[in-house]
């Protein structure tokens, strides 16, 4: 089963929830798809790390063959090519690697070259397999790295083991890519109006993808919780409530996995895991 953990903004607790759930599940796979700033590995401190480069294809021109016909320039809907002063210019960061220009060039003057955009790291932390995507600073899109992570996830999956996908924040393309193969989505939300607004954005996305889902309310204090109100109004299942405590904050700032060091949190996340399994069984039963 693949469980994606997402939220409408950064800092709500996606990593806290996904790291601790994977640690509570013991035998699990944790995938950090927040490739612009992956931080799950800081908690897991994985060992036996293997790295693999991820690259994309970029057109490359043989100036001796190019006749300046501009077929490629006219074709590219992202305008990644320009023909200036008898020379073809390729704007690598605008290119979406579709390969169309190479296919269409009547002179075969265009070919593809690899451009490295980041790496995927694999390691282990106790019984948790840890996969981390790291995008090079300045690159436009982390999606090729997420695709690679999710392909690798397919190879690593074992029977009954749970996979937790730590998503990038927000509800843009990069998040859609991260959740599209998930069996269940956990939305993490903060107890504020802003938090509830961000929750409503990811909720909309999840409905679009028709994913079974539930919410974890994080940083909970006594008093009004607009995110909880939003869940109640929309009939969204609240899977767990995590209190806002300095103890948890301290553990987190010291990059410790709460589940591995404190019984209170071991209980909290084991219970969340149980709720989750029950929810997912329920969903599977509904599907069949």
């Amino acid at each position: 089963m693949r469980i994606a953990v997402l939220s409408g903004k950064g800092g709500t607790g996606k990593t806290l929830v996904s790291v601790n759930l994977a640690a509570a599940a013991k035998k699990a796979v944790y995938i950090d798809c927040d490739v612009e700033e992956p931080n799950g590995h800081l908690f897991f401190k994985p060992e036996m790390i293997e790295s693999e480069e991820v690259s994309i294809k970029i057109p490359y021109v043989d100036e001796n063959l190019c006749t300046g016909c501009r077929t490629c320039v006219d074709f590219c809907k992202y305008n990644a090519l320009a023909y200036i002063a008898n020379k073809l210019h390729v704007f690598e960061e605008v290119c979406h690697s579709c390969g169309g220009c190479v296919l269409l060039c009547p002179e075969n003057a265009l070919s593809e070259k690899n451009k490295s955009i980041g790496i995927v790291q694999k390691g282990v932390s106790e019984d948790v397999k840890v996969l981390t995507g790291i995008l090079n600073p300045g690159e436009a899109s982390g999606i090729p790295i997420i695709k690679k992570l999710l392909d690798d996830m397919e190879d690593m999956k074992e029977d009954n083991s749970l996979t937790f996908i730590d998503c990038p924040p927000g509800s843009a393309c990069i998040v859609m890519e991260s959740i599209k193969d998930a069996d269940y989505c956990i939305m993490v939300a903060e107890p504020s109006l802003f938090g509830a607004h961000n929750l409503s954005m990811v909720y909309e996305l999840i409905q679009l993808f028709k994913k079974p889902h539930g919410v974890v309310l994080n940083k909970c204090l006594t008093g009004e919780n607009p995110s909880e109100t939003f869940c109640n109004e929309n009939g969204i299942k609240i899977l767990a409530t995590i209190p806002y405590t300095s103890e948890l904050g301290t553990l987190n700032s010291n990059a410790l996995i709460a589940v591995r060091v404190q019984e209170t949190y071991r209980d909290l996340f084991s219970s969340l895991l149980q709720t989750l399994r029950k929810e997912m069984r329920h969903e599977t039963a509904l599907d069949s």
Binding site: K77, N79, A80, A82, A85, F91, S141, I143
Partner: protein, 122 residues
């Protein structure tokens, strides 16, 4: 000498557009013959790379200079490769800017912004 200016409307009374790549129109003006030509900017509705496509169009019209309030780095790369000089407009009025250009008081645009690309996603 021929110059190009991004425009909100296709009239000499219209305003200079604050965007280069996504300006609705371009004015091509010949300083010697006073010829005025307005061309619709097909790059304005591009999914991405509007600056590159708009700059390609400016270059294809064989202008010597572009008068614009702003210009992104990709567009500037195209314009520089074609030796098109980029000047900074000083007001919204086309006429004032052309006059200032002819007097030689319009400064070169020295601030090229990093652009807004990469936000469209894939």
């Amino acid at each position: 000498m021929k110059i190009a200016i991004p425009m909100d409307d296709k009239t000499m009374e219209g305003d200079v557009c604050i965007s280069f790549g996504r300006a609705p129109y371009f004015l091509f003006y010949d300083i010697e013959t006073k010829d005025v030509v307005f061309i619709e900017n097909s790059a304005a509705t591009s999914q991405g790379g509007a600056g590159i496509k708009a700059a390609q169009m400016v270059v294809d019209n064989q202008v010597d200079a572009l008068l614009t309030p702003r210009c992104g780095e990709n567009a500037a790369e195209v314009l520089n490769a074609a030796n098109v000089k980029i000047y900074k407009t000083s007001s919204a009025s086309v006429q004032d800017n052309i006059a200032a250009f002819e007097e030689g008081t319009l400064p070169l645009l020295d601030e090229i912004h990093a652009g807004f690309h990469g936000h469209g996603g894939k």
